[in-house]
C-alpha cells in the first residue's frame, strides 16, 4: 500500500489537472464553504447572542419576583462559586424643590451588574464608574431626569423620606428591559438606602432580582441545588432571552442551517456523479495496473492518496472561502450585532475536514472497492463499464452515511426525517417516471424528424442511465426550488413586519378630557385623527379553574397588569383558541395572550380575579390570542370585554405615525405636558436595519446553494459525456449532419429536463409547506412566479449545458474525436 501511496503522491498533480477530479474538488469546496461559513457564523453569533442575552439580563441567571426573595438563594449561589448581585426596582416620585417626576428607582448592590456594562459619567461627560452602586446617600440619574427637573451637579433630590445627592449621569446600563417600568426614566441608588426611603409598603409594585454569574457547570450545579422554586419566583437564563435579539436574526439562522444542509446534500449528489465519472475513467488504469502486477492494496493506496490530497487542498480552499463568506455576512449583520464578536473557534476547521472526508468517502468508498478489485481480464475484453446495479449499492451507502453524518452535524432529527422522506419519495417518483418514459418512448414509432427520433431513442437505449439523470436533475432542482421559495417568503415576511405606516410614537396618560384637544391638534398639524385605546392599571389577584371552588395565585408571577377593554378584536391580534365575545354579551370576559396563558397554566373557562381603580372584579377566560407585537400598535396581555372593563377608571394610550422631518412632537409636549410621549423611531430603524441585513445575509447563503445546485446539474450532464462524445462522433462519421446531432441531443435533454423539472416542482410545494409550517412558523402559499421561473430556468439550464457538453464534438472531425476517445 505504501508503494500505492507513493505512486498516488507522484501522479497527483498530473491527474488533478486533467479535469477528472475538478468537479469532485468543486463539490468538496462548496460543501466545506457552506458548512464552515455557517459554522463560523453560528459559532460567533451564538457566543455573541449569549453575551448580548446575558447583557440584557445583567447576569447569566436571574431569580425575579414581585415579592422579597429568600436570601438563601444568594448563599447557595456563593456556595456554588457564583458571583451574585441584587436589585430592587420600584416606581416612585423623584422630588426637587421645584418639581417632581415619576421615576423607576433601581437600587443595586455593589457587584451589579454581573454582565454588561453600567456607564456613569459626571456632569461634564467624563466617565466615573462602570459598575457597582453609588455610595449610600448618593444617586445616579438618567439625562431625562436632569433635563426635566433641571438638576445640577451635587443637587439634592428626595425619594420618599431619603434625601440623596446626585453625582452621576447614567449613560447606559445592561438590564434596561428587565423591569416593568421600561418607559420611565431611571435613577440608581444604593440598595442599603431602601429602608430609609420608606417607599415600599405592602402591595407596592416592586421587582426583586437576585442575579448570578459563573461557569456553565457551576450554574447547572446551582440550578440543581435550588430545586423547585416557589411559583412567584421566575428563573431567567441568558438562553431564554435570546429571542429578544430579533425574530429575523433567529429565522435567518434557521435559514442558514437549512441552506447549509441542502448545500451538503446537493454537494454529495454532485460528488457522487463526479466520483462515478472518475471511477469509470480510472477503471482502465486500474485494470492495466493489475495486468502489470499491481496488487489490490497498491491500487487502493494510489486512489486513497489521490482522494486524501483532494480532501486536503479542497478543504483548505473551502475553509478559506467559508471564512471569507462569514466575514462578509458578519459585516452585513453588523447593524444587528451590538457587541464585538469573539474570534471564531477551531470548531469550523474540524467540521470542514470532517465534512469533506465524509463527502469523499461516502461517495468514493464503494468505487474504491470496485477499482481495487477490478479484474485484469477487463483489458482483454475492452470492458470498462460500471453497471448500475453496483451503483445502487453505492447510492444506498452514500445515502445512509449522509444521514448519519448530517444527524450528528445538525442534531435536528425532525428536519432530517422530513428531508430523508422527501429524498426517498422524490427518488421513487422520478424512478417511476423514468421507467414509464422509457417504456412509452420504446413503444412509439416516430415517423418524422430523424434528429428528434434519435434523441428520444437514445433515452430508451441509455435505460437506467437516463433514469439516473432524471433523478439527479430532479433532486437538485427540488432543493433549489424549496430554498428559493423559503428565501423569498422569508424576506417578504420580514419586509411586511414594518410597513410604511408603522407608528413611531406612543402617547400615554391621555385623560378623557385631553382627547378632543389631542385629536384637534393632530388634525390641524398632521391631518389625521388618532384612535385611542383605554388603559386600565390593575392587578391580577388569583385564578379559579372552571368547575372548581379553589382560588389559586400559583403561577401568576407578575400580577401587575395593564388592562384594556375592546369591543372587537384588534387588527394585530389573532384568536388562537376560544372565541371573541359577542358585543351584546353581558358576561364579564377576558382574552389573554397565548404565551402568557401558557406560562400561567390558564385554560379557557378559568375565572380570573382582578383589582383595578379600587374595586375587585372577575372575568371568565374565553379566548387566547396571538399578538403581532411588531405592529407597534397598543397591545395588551389581557383584554376585557366591554361589560367587564367599560366602567373601570382608565386613561388612554395611542400610537401615531409622525414624519421624521416633522417637529410637531416638540410643540405637542409643550402643549400637553402631562401626556407622556415615547419616540420609537430609533427602535423601528434598528428593526429595519435588522431586516435588510438579515435579508442580504440570506441572499449570500442562497447564492452558495445555487452554485452547488448548478454544479450538481453540470456534474450529472457531464457524467456520461464520454459515451455521448463517442456516440456523437460515430453518428457524425456515418453521415449525420450537425442539425441532426443537435436535434437528437436537444430532444434528449429537453425531455429529461421537463420531466425532472415538473416532478421537482410538485415535491417542492409539498416539502416547502412542511418546512414553512414546522420550522419557520410561516404560512405557505405556493409562489407561482418562483415555481414557474425555477422550472423554466432549470429546463433551459439542463438543455444548454447538455448541448454544450457535446458542442466540441459537433464541430470536430469525428476521426479526431474517436482517436482521442
Amino acid at each position: 500500500m505504501i508503494k500505492g501511496f507513493r505512486y498516488g503522491l507522484n501522479k497527483f498533480w498530473s491527474e488533478a489537472l486533467s479535469g477528472d477530479l475538478l468537479i469532485l474538488s468543486l463539490s468538496i469546496i462548496l460543501a466545506v464553504t457552506s458548512i464552515s461559513s455557517v459554522s463560523f457564523l453560528g459559532d460567533r453569533l451564538q457566543t455573541s447572542m449569549k453575551l448580548q442575552a446575558s447583557s440584557i439580563l445583567g447576569a447569566d441567571l436571574v431569580l425575579r419576583s414581585a415579592s422579597v426573595i429568600d436570601p438563601k438563594y444568594l448563599e447557595l449561589g456563593i456556595a456554588n462559586n457564583l458571583e451574585t448581585a441584587e436589585t430592587i426596582t420600584f416606581l416612585s416620585m423623584v422630588i426637587t424643590d421645584d418639581d417632581n417626576l415619576l421615576t423607576s428607582i433601581k437600587t443595586t448592590s455593589e457587584s451589579y451588574p454581573l454582565r454588561g456594562e453600567l456607564i456613569v459619567t459626571d456632569f461634564n461627560g467624563s466617565p466615573i464608574q462602570n459598575n457597582g452602586s453609588p455610595p449610600t446617600g448618593h444617586v445616579w440619574i438618567e439625562p431625562k431626569i436632569v433635563e426635566t427637573l433641571n438638576i445640577k451637579n451635587s443637587s439634592e433630590i428626595s425619594i420618599g423620606n431619603k434625601v440623596l445627592k446626585v453625582d452621576g449621569i447614567i449613560q447606559d446600563f445592561p438590564d434596561r428591559n428587565s423591569s416593568f417600568v421600561g418607559f420611565y426614566p431611571i435613577a440608581i441608588a444604593n440598595i442599603n438606602d431602601i429602608s430609609d426611603m420608606g417607599v415600599i409598603q405592602t402591595g407596592s409594585r416592586v421587582v426583586y432580582r437576585s442575579m448570578f454569574s459563573g461557569s456553565t457547570r457551576n450554574l447547572n450545579n446551582f440550578i440543581n441545588d435550588i430545586g423547585e422554586i416557589p411559583a412567584d419566583i421566575r428563573l431567567q437564563q441568558a438562553e431564554d432571552v435570546g429571542d429578544e435579539l430579533g425574530e429575523a436574526l433567529g429565522e435567518s439562522v434557521t435559514f442558514f442551517n437549512l441552506a447549509s444542509l441542502f448545500t451538503i446534500i446537493i454537494s454529495v449528489i454532485s460528488a457522487m456523479m463526479a466520483v462515478r465519472r472518475y471511477a469509470t475513467r480510472n477503471l482502465l488504469q486500474a485494470s492495466l495496473m493489475k495486468v502489470f502486477g499491481a496488487s489490490k492494496l497498491f491500487i487502493l493506496g494510489h486512489q486513497i492518496m489521490q482522494l486524501l490530497l483532494i480532501i486536503l487542498f479542497a478543504t483548505l480552499l473551502g475553509l478559506l472561502c467559508g471564512y471569507a463568506l462569514q466575514s462578509l455576512i458578519i459585516s452585513t449583520l453588523q447593524g444587528i450585532l451590538t457587541t464585538d464578536l469573539p474570534a471564531p473557534s477551531f470548531k469550523p476547521l474540524v467540521l470542514g475536514f470532517v465534512t469533506s472526508i465524509f463527502v469523499v468517502f461516502a461517495t468514493a468508498s464503494p468505487y474504491l472497492k470496485i477499482l481495487s478489485q477490478t479484474e485484469p481480464i477487463r483489458i482483454l475484453r475492452n470492458d470498462f463499464s460500471i453497471n448500475l446495479s453496483n451503483n445502487l449499492t453505492i447510492y444506498l451507502v452514500a445515502l445512509v452515511t449522509m444521514f448519519i453524518f448530517l444527524g450528528i452535524l445538525f442534531q435536528d432529527i425532525k428536519l432530517l426525517s422530513y428531508i430523508l422522506m422527501a429524498l426517498i419519495f422524490v427518488t421513487a417518483a422520478l424512478y417511476a417516471i423514468g421507467k414509464i418514459l422509457i417504456i412509452l418512448l420504446g413503444s412509439i414509432n416516430f415517423s418524422s424528424g430523424i434528429g428528434w427520433k434519435i434523441g428520444l431513442k437514445n433515452i430508451v437505449n441509455r435505460g437506467n442511465e437516463s433514469i439516473l439523470q432524471i433523478i439527479i436533475f430532479g433532486l437538485s432542482l427540488l432543493f433549489l426550488i424549496v430554498l428559493a421559495e423559503t428565501r423569498t417568503d422569508l424576506i417578504d415576511s420580514w419586509s411586511e413586519t414594518l410597513e410604511e405606516d408603522t407608528p413611531n410614537y406612543f402617547l400615554f396618560n391621555i385623560q378623557e378630557y385631553d382627547i378632543a384637544n389631542v385629536t384637534s391638534y393632530f388634525l390641524e398639524t398632521a391631518n389625521f385623527s388618532p384612535s385611542y385605546t383605554p388603559l386600565i392599571r390593575g392587578r391580577l389577584l388569583s385564578a379559579k379553574r372552571a368547575g372548581s371552588d379553589e382560588l389559586s395565585s400559583e403561577n401568576l408571577m407578575e400580577r401587575e397588569a395593564n388592562l384594556t377593554w375592546q369591543e372587537s378584536l384588534p387588527k394585530s391580534n389573532k384568536i388562537s383558541k376560544g372565541e371573541w365575545w359577542n358585543q351584546e354579551s353581558t358576561t364579564a370576559e377576558v382574552s389573554i395572550d397565548a404565551e402568557v396563558a401558557e406560562s400561567m397554566n390558564l385554560e379557557i373557562g378559568d375565572e380570573l380575579f382582578f383589582s383595578a381603580g379600587g374595586s375587585k372584579f372577575s372575568a371568565i377566560v374565553t379566548s387566547f390570542r396571538e399578538i403581532e407585537w411588531e405592529s407597534f400598535s397598543p397591545n395588551f396581555f389581557f383584554i376585557l370585554s366591554p361589560s367587564a372593563g367599560q366602567s373601570l377608571p382608565n386613561s388612554y394610550i395611542t400610537s401615531i405615525k409622525i414624519s421624521e422631518q416633522s417637529n410637531i412632537m416638540n410643540s405637542f409636549t409643550q402643549r400637553f405636558p402631562t401626556i407622556t410621549s415615547v419616540d420609537l423611531g430609533a427602535v423601528i430603524q434598528q428593526i429595519r436595519n435588522t431586516v435588510s441585513s438579515a435579508s442580504l445575509a440570506v441572499q449570500y447563503i442562497f447564492l452558495l446553494t445555487l452554485i452547488a445546485g448548478i454544479l450538481a446539474l453540470v456534474a450529472s450532464v457531464f457524467s456520461n459525456r464520454d459515451q455521448r462524445t463517442k456516440e456523437t462522433a460515430i453518428m457524425h462519421a456515418i453521415g449525420a449532419n450537425r442539425l441532426i446531432i443537435f436535434q437528437s441531443a436537444a430532444a434528449e435533454f429537453f425531455i429529461l429536463g421537463i420531466l425532472s423539472g415538473l416532478t421537482a416542482i410538485i415535491f417542492a410545494v409539498i416539502l416547502s409547506s412542511i418546512i414553512f409550517s414546522q420550522f419557520l412558523d410561516l404560512l405557505y402559499s405556493p409562489n407561482i412566479l418562483i415555481l414557474g421561473l425555477s422550472f423554466a430556468i432549470g429546463v433551459i439550464f439542463i438543455f444548454i449545458s447538455g448541448i454544450l457538453s457535446i458542442r466540441k464534438t459537433i464541430y470536430t472531425s469525428p476521426v479526431i474525436t474517436l482517436r482521442e476517445s
Partner: protein, 252 residues
C-alpha cells in the same frame, strides 16, 4: 524503418544484456526448458443460452525463448486462452504452470506479483493511458514495482523502440503504430521472461504492422524473451517456431 529499429535494438539490447543477469545466465533455446505448461484447461461461462464452453481440454507447453503463436478465427477462444496462460483469468478446470509456479492455485495478488516480475503484455487496443505522456506510460510497470530508476530505464526502452524523441507526447498525440511501439516499450521495460501479445498488429496498417512484427521478433531474438503471440494473421503466426490453431475452443 524496420532496419533502423533493428540497428537501434542491437545497440540498446547490448546495454540491457549487461544489466540482465537472468538473460546472461540463460542459455538460448535450451531444450525442454519449459517456461509455460498448460494442462487440461477448460473455461466455461454462464450465458443467457446456458453454460458456454470457451476453451476445452487444452494442453500445450512452451519452451523458454521459443516464439509460439495461437491462431484461429474470431470467437475461437484465443484471447481467453492467452488470459488464462498469463494469469489474467482462471480456468474452470485444469492448471497452468508459468515460470515454475502453478498460477491457477494462486490468488489474484500472487499472480499479480508474478506478472510484475516476469511477464510483459502487448494488446490489440494498445491501452495507453490517454492522460499520461509516452514516457509515463512506459514507466507504469516499474513504478508499480517501486523501481527507483524507472525514468532512466523507461527512456532506454523508448529508445529501443525508436521513440525517444516522442517521450513527452501524450498518447492521444501518437499514431497507431507509434502507440503500439510505446506499448511494446512498456511491455519490455521490466525485462520480462515471457511476453504475451494479443493481436498486436490487429489495429495497424500494413507498414506499421510490419514494423511492430519485426520489433517483437527482434526482442525475442536479442533478449531471449519467450513470445506468445495471439493472432488471426497467418503470415505473422508462421514467423513463430510453433503454431497452435484453435477452433471452437479446441486445439486442432
Amino acid at each position: 524503418m524496420v532496419f533502423l529499429f533493428n540497428d537501434k535494438l542491437s545497440e540498446a539490447f547490448t546495454v540491457m544484456k549487461t544489466e540482465s543477469k537472468i538473460a546472461e545466465n540463460t542459455p538460448r533455446h535450451p531444450l525442454k526448458d519449459l517456461i509455460l505448461e498448460v494442462k487440461n484447461i477448460t473455461k466455461e461461462v454462464n450465458s443467457p443460452e446456458g453454460l458456454l464452453t470457451i476453451v476445452k481440454d487444452i494442453n500445450l507447453s512452451v519452451e523458454r525463448g521459443k516464439p509460439i503463436s495461437l491462431v484461429g478465427p474470431s470467437g475461437s477462444g484465443k484471447t481467453t486462452l492467452l488470459a488464462i496462460m498469463a494469469g489474467l483469468d482462471l480456468p474452470t478446470r485444469g492448471s497452468v504452470n508459468l515460470l515454475g509456479s502453478n498460477i491457477t492455485s494462486m490468488n489474484e495478488d500472487q499472480r499479480a506479483q508474478i506478472r510484475a516480475q516476469d511477464v510483459g503484455f502487448v494488446f490489440q487496443s494498445f491501452h495507453l493511458m490517454p492522460r499520461l505522456s509516452a514516457l509515463d506510460n512506459v514507466m507504469l510497470p516499474l513504478e508499480i514495482a517501486g523501481d527507483p530508476d524507472a525514468i532512466e530505464k523507461s527512456q532506454i526502452a523508448l529508445d529501443q523502440v525508436g521513440l525517444s524523441a516522442r517521450s513527452k507526447n501524450f498518447a492521444t498525440q501518437l499514431s497507431g503504430g507509434e502507440k503500439q511501439r510505446v506499448a511494446i516499450a512498456r511491455a519490455i521495460v521490466n525485462k520480462p521472461k515471457i511476453l504475451f501479445a494479443d493481436e498486436p498488429t490487429g489495429n495497424l496498417d500494413q507498414k506499421s504492422s510490419n514494423a511492430v512484427t519485426d520489433l517483437l521478433f527482434s526482442i525475442n531474438e536479442l533478449i531471449n524473451t519467450t513470445l506468445v503471440l495471439v493472432t488471426h494473421d497467418l503470415l505473422l503466426a508462421e514467423k513463430c517456431e510453433d503454431l497452435y490453431e484453435l477452433s471452437d475452443g479446441s486445439l486442432l
